[in-house]
Symmetry: C5
Subunit: 91 residues, 5 copies
């Protein structure tokens, strides 16, 4: 899973039927070692994340395991809202 | 899913049978945080995207879930046409 | 799918049994937006591509859908020979 | 599999049900050829790794094979604790 | 598949049960176009590769098709030992 920050949301009227009702968030990957932000992408959200939250995102086929719809065309899903990162780096 | 811009289309007469009749579009990844364009690739289109549209693209095994043919050799599919991106960055 | 140019072929006598008789081509990814070539890798070929051809390559689990052997250890397959790329960039 | 160093752990109260009780560790990829550290991410741990350990991490759908829950939204798992790397580079 | 050079081996006493008896090799990706070496990682070996060999490595879910254990947490496998690369580049 990768650590991301939630930036916003995406709206698409014309879309694959399996995405109807799915909340789609724009997230940006965080590199915790030097606190930089890298690439952004879109993840489905089933845990109720809000803008600014640090979240865990599962990608690839594993992303579909979190959405209750193994057949949805979803390749990234927010699977947890991070409370705390505990590292040897004082974060 | 990643955010892309549709650039054009690809024609291939000799191809895998499962791709017959599939509309193949050239798309280019957009980095919304700094509005840059990065790598291009080819995605199947089942939602009727047009050149210049900003679209959502599902990749990997998830791409096959949008094509009605779980057995097609498709690893990227346009799954939505973006109406609006709503971020804290004033986009 | 990604757009590649066919560079050559690979010969391996000692290999996984499921690769027996499979034509293995060296391909190199093409970035059509600026006409540069990036990383090279090896793809199975079931459409009869030749050296110098521009081809479509499917990667990941989708690559196995083109080879008639869902159980082969193949992660990249040439699925089409490109006749024409039609973009707004005059290619 | 990739070689990583364990940096710490992640806590998330609100998360996908299938992640309940799963130990989530922050790991950072090691490039053994020049001993540099690259990107960090989060991996499930089922072998009891500790901070500072060098570990093997399986990614993608293969990561789910190590967790006893084929349906968990897990895309990276620590599958071994490295005792020794033996290379021609004197490591 | 990607072309790699075998650098060495990895030893892990504490590991996922499905990896017992599996030979794990450190490999480094080769870019044949300019003869450079890029990132290293660990691949299972079922064809008997030796240090210094140039090999074909299958990655992702396809890697499990070569190991006779569809359920092993393996995401990279050596599937062939390269005898010859034949390109238009005089390699």
């Amino acid at each position: 899973m990768i650590i991301c920050k939630v930036l916003g949301s995406v709206w698409a009227t014309r879309k694959d039927d399996a995405l109807s009702g799915v909340k789609l968030m724009i997230v940006r990957r965080l590199e915790v070692c030097n606190n930089t932000e890298t690439e952004s992408f879109v993840a489905a959200d089933f845990v109720g994340a809000g803008i600014g939250d640090r979240v865990l995102v599962a990608t690839g086929s594993s992303a579909r395991n979190a959405c209750g719809q193994a057949d949805a065309p979803i390749d990234a899903t927010i699977v947890g809202i991070i409370d705390e990162l505990e590292t040897g780096m004082g974060d």
